[in-house]
């Protein structure tokens, strides 16, 4: 058998048998399954409840007598602030608020509580809000109008195709979930795979096995076999996730419904996820190989590679910015910049459409970077793989690139 193939097979087998790899591959779908299970379980036993509580109020303005029951929250009227304070200290009410005489002109309500908190909880705010609103409008507008004023907007966006029909792909948060989760997974998978490569090289360098290997095969065969073998293992991992995703999604939407049922995979998602894994991994693999060759051992290599993995994670840091400002030119840059492109493109698929030229440019830049770094790596690989215990300076590396 071809020696490159032998190394490929060895590295693939070695990687897929690693405990960390198996755990990572299986645990992602399992955690998803678990979450679905937990959701089903908890939604079965407990309804969405706000703790029952009593809120006192002092009506200095007058006219706030009705609507004292707001869901689980009961409102109790006090004549003076002192009475209310006594009740609060005694514990018969949880908190109280005062409607001052100038409320109509200022809108200011003073709230008194024993709790130390950042702000009133949304449930309490909503209860007080509705209580005031209902009393202010009582008798002046119909009941149905009051209900509408409480919640005047329920925005449902529908995306049309260019021919005016309802598009099958509706976008929105439901569309963003999978690309977001996949962006994280893709980054993890790329980082883990290239770390395996780095560790492997570091180990072979530290225990000098590299000499036996190089006396049997050429540096190119060794490098190619390793990169492809570990990459194939990473691809299997991504494939497991990609295949599991729609199955789990079906399971989840049929059992949970609601928001989950609006989750969908953007068009071309699976194909692009696979393509960007391959490109992203290849780029990080060649970088890892050169870092592995230059660094003195696997630990130092892992510190060095950190410089390159940071840009890969940039899109994840700016997730919320990407969601709210999807058209910012910065995203175009990150989609084309090779170190951040794999995660950026996958995540942006969930936010907006990516013009074809950007995809083409992004892939082209990735491919060119991979080829360029690969050529450089082969030049320095052999020289530095045998330099133990001492890392060459940048000047020295540049010199050997020229002479290589």
């Amino acid at each position: 058998m071809n020696k490159t193939l032998l190394i490929l097979r060895h590295e693939f087998g070695h990687t897929v048998k690693r405990r960390g790899f198996i755990v990572m591959t299986l645990i992602v779908p399992l955690i998803a399954l678990l979450l679905i299970g937990v959701f089903q379980f908890t939604s079965g036993i407990a309804g969405p409840t706000v703790e029952a509580m009593t809120i006192g109020y002092v009506d200095e303005l007058g006219g706030f007598q009705q609507y004292t029951s707001q869901g689980n929250i009961t409102l109790v009227r006090f004549d003076t602030a002192n009475d209310a304070t006594d009740a609060l200290v005694r514990g018969s009410i949880n908190e109280y608020f005062v409607i001052p005489q100038d409320y109509i002109s200022t809108g200011v309500i003073n709230r008194y509580t024993l709790e130390r908190q950042l702000a009133a909880s949304p449930a309490i705010t909503a209860a007080i809000n509705n209580f005031l609103l209902n009393n202010l409008l009582a008798g002046k507008v119909p009941e149905a109008t009051i209900t509408r004023i409480e919640a005047p907007l329920n925005l449902v966006s529908i995306r049309l195709t260019e021919t005016g029909e309802v598009d099958t792909e509706q976008g929105g948060y439901g569309n963003f979930v999978i690309p977001f989760v996949f962006g994280i997974l893709l980054a993890l998978s790329i980082i883990i795979s290239s770390t395996y490569l780095l560790q492997g090289l570091g180990e072979e360098k530290e225990n000098r096995l590299i000499e036996i290997l190089l006396s049997s095969v050429s540096a190119r065969q060794l490098l190619t076999g390793k990169v492809l073998g570990i990459g194939a293992a990473g691809l299997v991992q991504v494939a497991v996730w990609v295949i599991a995703a729609p199955l789990l999604l079906n399971l989840a939407s049929s059992s949970i419904g609601g928001f989950i049922s609006t989750i969908q995979l953007p068009a071309n998602f699976i194909a692009l996820a696979v393509v960007y894994f391959i490109l992203g991994y290849s780029l990080f693999a060649v970088i890892s190989a050169s870092v592995g060759a230059v660094s003195s051992g696997s630990r130092e290599g892992q510190q060095l590679i950190g410089l390159f993995t940071l840009p890969l994670l940039i899109p994840l840091w700016f997730t919320s910015l990407m969601m709210f400002f999807p058209d910012n030119p910065a995203w175009v840059f990150f989609a084309i910049f090779p170190l951040s492109a794999p995660v950026e493109v996958i995540m942006r698929l969930g936010v907006s459409d990516i013009p074809a030229w950007q995809l083409v440019a992004s892939m082209a830049v990735l491919v060119l970077s991979i080829i360029g770094i690969l050529l450089l790596t082969i030049r320095i690989f052999r020289t530095y793989l045998l330099m133990y215990g001492k890392r060459p300076g940048i000047g020295e590396v540049l010199r050997s690139l020229r002479n290589g």
Binding site: E206, N207, L209, E211, V217
Partner: protein, 298 residues
Amino acid sequence: MVAVEVSHITKSFTDKVAVDDLSFSVAQGEIFGLIGPNGAGKTTTIRMMMDILKPDSGDVTILGEKLSEATKNKLGYLPEERGLYRKMRVLDSIIYLASLKGVDARSAEEKANELLNQTGMLSHKAKKIEELSRGMGQIIQFIVSIIHDPELVVLDEPFAGLDPVNTELLKGMLLDLRNQGKALILSTHQMNEIEELSDRILMINHGRSVLYGNLAEIKSKYRSNSVLLEFEGELGEVPGVTGKRTHKGYVELVLDGNTTSQQVLERLVSRGMVINRFEVATPPLNEIFLRLVGKNRE
């Protein structure tokens, strides 16, 4: 046939010249000792022979050709510093590394079992490398270096770290290989260790050749004209002997220029002495080395 032909190779690193215009050849069916102190350039020389490093100038031919993928399969190598995949099992490690030398899995396993049996390691074949002792790991690496029936075997410091039992075992296996017509190169800084094995040697210091040739000829050339004697009774004066040094258990007699060892022996026997050992003293290799290097020292 010439197994290795090295002509005028030179290799410098940034701070020093590691190998300086070195030439030698190794024939099939001989054990060749590459000796010299630490840092003399032995390992760099070997790495250039193995195509792990490229010489700055000069040529290396292995088995009559430049080292190629095909010749790599006929070459066995035990590097100076040892290591294997720590998490891999012994048998799997051997089979994988043999496969990179072009041996198919089935014959590799057969041969591995045979060699493991021969070295008394068969019971460890399912263990992980990390469970083995250092010496055991070294035996496994030795097996790796010969499992593909190579024409040329290069062993860098083969005896370092081995106990006496394994050292003897290894020496026996090396002699067997030589008798099968293989070329063996043993590199070591412990010069005396390979004296009894080597047919020819190359002694290097600071990357340069100091001494090169047939070991027996070298030793007779550097003979110090003295004999070692173990005897019972009184020695007294012996004609032709100008000096006498007493060592533990034996005496070294230094002869004058006109007397041969044979004459001394005859004189001793004619006195009716009981002689337990009579040996023409040849200086050990490291003594020759010290003499040569000391002479060059300014």
